[in-house]
Amino acid sequence: MDLERPLPTPITPECRPYWEGARDGRLMIPKCRACGKPFMYPRVACPFCASRDIGWVQATGRGKLFSFEIAHQILNKAFKVKTPVVLAMIELEEGPRILTNLVGIAPDPKQIRCDMPVEVCFEKLTDQVSLPMFRPVGGGAR
């Protein structure tokens, strides 16, 4: 089956819980047991206090649209989703920021607003891999 998107590659060992969580429909993020701060992307040491004592927690999946842009062309040939596509930076309720796509809303800068509340949804790519995506809270089934 032809995929519409490049799979996350390579899934590095320290990031595996993130992708296993996504496969099961849960947004898992690393959290430092020493200073208590959650962070992204996953690392073996805390970026805030350098502690090596890192655990994982399930994020609420809620956050705000920190910034966005509307791609009319995509350089990566392996990305075949029909443009325009909304590329987004989400700030999770827990604090960390991640890049994703905003779905469930027209790709129109007049309708999309920075700081609008968003929630996670998952797009299954294969039996092993689902991608966390985000949609406006209370709107837009997809």
């Binding site: 899934i11 910034s67 966005f68 930076m89 800068p109």
Partner: protein, 387 residues
Amino acid sequence: MSDLAKLRELSNSVCIVGVDESDEIGTLPGKSQLSLHVEAITNAVRDAGLKVSEVDGIFTAGQHSPATIGEAIGVVPRYVDGTTVGGCSFIIMVGHAVLALHHGLCDVAVVSHGESGRSGVGVSPRRDTALPGQFEFPYGFGGAPTYFGLITTRHMHEHGTTLEQWAQVAVSTRKWAALNPKARNRDPLTVKDVLDSRPVVWPFNILNICLVTDAGGAVVLTRADRAKDCAKRPVYVRGAGEGSEHVMLTQMRDLTFSEATRRSGEKAFAMAGVKATDFNHIMLYDAFTSGPPLMLEALGLAKRGEGVHFFAEGRSTPGGKLPINTNGGGLSYTHSGMYGIFPIIEATRQLRGECGARQVPNTKLSLVNGMGGMLSAAGTLVLANDR
């Protein structure tokens, strides 16, 4: 000795004595990027009135190591530096070369750039995609516009900046390009032209985004005592500073304010003993129209959200009070990928008074600032034509 006193001792101790591009810049399918390096180095060394055999310090960033460049020009360097933190690496390396020259680790340093960014001749595959490959590429990210757009949208949200204001940066820069025979795009440009151009990644249309070209450039430096015997008027490195904050855009602490840029400027101004408002010529790395305003804000020349006013009010254009990007910039002159060598070349030429129709009268103190990645790293230089 205090840290500041140590820095001040470096100020004016080293000069830029030679600068040049490769034989041609633009679309060059007949030249490898290694050849672009070699052309630029031989041209810049000639500009300095020196011989290639006198080069003993090699500084370069990108796909070729300084060892490769030394080998290609037939010298065995005493000092090499391959710091690669994005397009500003060459600006940062001028500071590194000041240190190495000041301490006698080399006598003639060359900072070299060559990139077949358009034609891809003799280039290597991209490296360092492990994190973007997991967390960015599956969503369609990839290519600088898909990252800088996020910075730009957030700036518009926080400060009310507009598409028209970004377009004014392209218009101002094009006015300079019209005066530079080496610039790729020299036709007049209006705000409407920019707003009506092909959409790429909103908020950017194609005319908000730099060119993609093939080009080389090199800068030759030596200690001030020796610089007096070179062919051209020496340009003093009065201050140099660098900063490096993040790589992944999600790790940038404040998405609309570059901490790397701020730190690089603070260090360079302290070393030079100047204020942000002292300059009468400015070169900023313009990969995108929103870049230069944000750099002015991080460097302290403008309040947050107000960098765009420099371009809107005609201060930055030919005849303006504070000329910016007088070569026509990455937007209209050339942009091979790692653009940072070219603002240094232009600032040197302006300080020598070599710029013909685009010469800024009485250029005495020039500010060069560039970014690496997405405002991730930064280098700042304070250049002057006397000490």
